[in-house]
């Protein structure tokens, strides 16, 4: 594919899009689909056709529109009217209204902080483009970042841009992305790999799934740019098999990208070649851990191994391997198009850019959000989330899933940054945020996560295999009011052992939910203890 062709195709699509008087966007990401948005989509398509409006009005399936708790969501453009809880019965009225004024009873105001305070880089295209058509991605400058990298920049210039952006890994730990790319680029080997980690096993997290469902090409572009920068020719996307729609859209996108020649051999008439294959997980949380993930791609049990050597030195089949999270890679095209300096102006100094969160639990406006780093936790809960329903009081905010902690009201004014969250015993994590109100029991939450870790422990190292089971037993004993004060001491000691002696991140972080609830909600534990 020639560079000019890319621009031409993009231009054609932009012109074509202008012919429509109305474009009705129906959310067809998993959230709204489970509220039967597919039926709404079919009904809208039929209604528009039956009324003979299909020359001026297009009904389009798009990715996530964000406010999942109000699904199915439908947006009418260019007016931008957002409709919530749309049912098949509402369709005739909705189509009829195109000629008049909006259907008031279904309108979801976009004037609320939920929409106004978000900043979208990763989700810029979600809800706007049809994820199944590569042309629409091209029309929003898709693959321009790759074009620029391959035709105008050297690999080290690409890496400098990423370093300059300050981007840090969105998979949980926040390792500087530019530094990781540098290590892989420097490794001396004729074969290197790029892996996109789309295992997203954290219960309550669906950021990566929605990115893949809403804008699969940005991941492909991000991976290809990464491949160019570090000198890899083969990429793998490891997706959990529980995400059938994401897998389908990803495979479709890969085929389109190959056909167009934006991946494959001689990309943009250069010597650079890059190929991507999809690998499916099979339901194991631990396979999100990078060394376990690599073992799984190699067709083995997903057992982690000690690091070093890090995958950047010896990863897939012993070769230098760059492994990045979906959201990390989704930021790359925009960084290339707009420059690392631009990215660094967003967010805070140590945590640049934005973060996508799956905001759920006892909150009025739940869904998929993207906010600038540094926004206060309070804003996320009370502005974006619109506070707690049923006039109940806020109790805690859980971040980082089974590896994270529960943050109480007193710490809500802290900025959302990697370091600050670590200070209060939680982690940024991959982006699941669960809000709990006064009716939630913190002991129950701690037990919930411990049972999860016990179930998901791969069994290779003793502290994790036996420790999580013992911790879960102790927590059950406490929850059921059968524990003594000595049990609480034992619980804390055991947390310490598991945290410091487990082989991988799963065991090392499994005690976090217990430790953080003990730190901030100790009285709840004490209330359960027999004196």
């Amino acid at each position: 594919m020639m560079p000019e062709e890319l621009t031409e195709l993009a231009h054609k699509e932009q012109t074509d899009a202008q012919q429509w008087q109305h474009q009705i966007h129906v959310c067809t990401a998993t959230g709204c689909l489970s509220a039967q948005s597919d039926q709404v989509y079919t009904a809208l398509t039929r209604e528009v056709r039956d009324r003979g409006m299909d020359k001026t009005c297009r009904v389009k399936g798009v990715g996530c529109l964000g406010l999942c708790s109000a699904g199915p969501l439908v947006q009418v453009n260019p007016a931008g009217t957002l409709y919530q809880h749309v049912q098949v019965d509402d369709v005739p009225e909705l189509v009829q209204s195109l000629k008049h004024s909006p259907v008031e009873r279904l309108v979801c105001s976009t004037d609320i902080p939920f929409f106004q305070q978000q900043v979208k880089i990763v989700l810029a295209n979600a809800g706007n483009i049809d994820p199944e058509r590569i042309e629409e991605y091209l029309a929003v400058d898709g693959y321009q970042g790759l074009l620029q990298a391959v035709t105008e920049m050297t690999p080290s210039e690409v890496i400098s841009e990423v370093i300059h952006s300050g981007l840090r890994g969105r998979g949980g730990a926040g390792y500087p992305t530019g530094l990781k790319w540098t290590t892989v680029a420097k490794a001396d080997s004729h074969q290197k790999y790029v892996i996109c980690n789309a295992d997203e096993g954290d219960p309550g997290a669906f950021m990566d799934r929605n990115i893949l469902e809403s804008d699969p090409h940005c991941i492909i572009e991000g991976m290809a740019i990464a491949g160019y920068a570090v000198g890899a020719t083969q990429g793998y996307i490891y997706v959990r098999s529980e995400y059938p729609l994401a897998i389908k859209r990803l495979r479709n996108a890969l085929r389109r990208a190959e056909r167009l020649g934006v991946i494959g051999n001689n990309i943009f008439e250069s010597a650079f070649r890059f190929q991507i294959d999809v690998r499916l997980g099979a339901g194991a949380f631990v396979c999100g851990e990078e060394t376990a993930l690599i073992a799984s791609i190699e067709g083995r049990r997903g057992n982690p191994r000690p690091r070093p050597p890090y995958p950047a030195e010896a990863g897939l089949w012993g070769q230098p391997t760059l492994i990045n999270n979906v959201e990390t890679l989704a930021n790359i095209p925009a960084i290339l198009r707009n420059g690392g300096g631009w990215f660094a102006t967003i967010g805070s100094s140590q945590s640049t850019g934005t973060k996508v969160f799956a905001l759920t639990g006892k909150v009025n406006h739940g869904g998929l959000i993207e906010v600038p780093m540094g926004m206060s936790l309070r804003s996320i809960v009370f502005d974006i989330g619109g506070g707690i329903p049923n006039e109940l009081a806020f109790k805690a905010m859980q971040t980082g899933g089974p590896s994270g902690g529960c943050i109480p009201e007193t710490h809500l004014d802290m900025p959302t940054e990697y370091e600050t969250l670590n200070q209060i015993g939680s982690i940024m994590g991959s982006g699941g945020i669960i809000i709990m109100d006064e009716t939630s029991s913190m002991v129950d939450v701690a037990r919930f996560y411990m049972e999860f870790c016990q179930d998901e422990s791969c069994g290779k190292c003793v502290p994790c295999r036996v420790g999580t089971a013992q911790l879960a037993t102790l927590l059950t004993k406490i929850a059921e009011g059968m524990a003594t004060p000595e049990d609480l001491i034992l619980l804390e000691e055991l947390c310490d052992v598991v945290k410091h002696t487990s082989l991988c991140g799963l065991g090392q972080s499994a005690p976090n939910p217990v430790l953080s609830t003990l730190r901030f909600f100790r009285h709840e534990y004490l209330a359960h203890i027999r004196q």
Partner: protein, 169 residues
């Protein structure tokens, strides 16, 4: 590509073995494609039985013990078929848990006298829990056969199951 292993014929003339063969061929019969192959067996046959594992072992040149190790490691794979007329999956992810998923689960366990991961004695209902179905915005979520019930509560789920079972009778 492996060339040193003689191809053995599939265990039976069931046409589904062709799907399995296609998967292995696509990856050049490389042992790395073990998980992909197990996926296609699970999808085509519903479980991984001894016969299937022996066949894959011989074809890919992977020891049976290793296949068994992989098959039992991953939650998705099952060695025995799950035979039930209807499947009810209760999401027990964090959001659903906070919003009452556990209550729904125990109500169903009680009403239909079945435990999660098991099938009722009469074989009508298989009850399963899921880690997270990712529809957290609509929690709690229950999937009945192909139908997703969002913002579910114990009454409407039980009622729906009873309807479905009654429909069969």
């Amino acid at each position: 590509m492996k060339t040193d292993i003689a191809r053995i014929p599939p265990p039976s003339d069931d046409k589904r073995w062709r799907i399995i063969d296609t998967t292995m061929r696509r990856y050049g019969y490389d042992s790395h494609c073990l998980i992909e192959t197990l996926h296609s067996v699970q999808e085509a046959f519903g479980s991984l039985d001894d016969q299937a594992m022996h066949y894959i072992s011989a074809t890919l040149g992977v020891p049976l013990s290793q296949i068994y190790g992989v098959a039992t490691f991953y939650h998705l794979f099952t060695l025995k078929p799950r035979e039930a007329h209807h499947t009810c999956v209760i999401c027990v992810g964090t959001s659903c848990h906070i919003k009452g998923g556990a209550t729904i689960l125990s109500a169903i366990e009680k009403t239909f006298r079945v435990k999660a991961g098991q099938t009722t004695a009469d074989g009508t209902l298989y009850l399963q829990t899921a880690r997270c179905l990712g529809s957290c915005g609509l929690a709690p979520v229950v999937v009945l056969n192909e139908e997703t019930l969002s913002k579910a509560n114990q009454n409407n789920v039980i009622q729906r199951i009873q309807e479905i079972i009654r429909h069969d009778a």
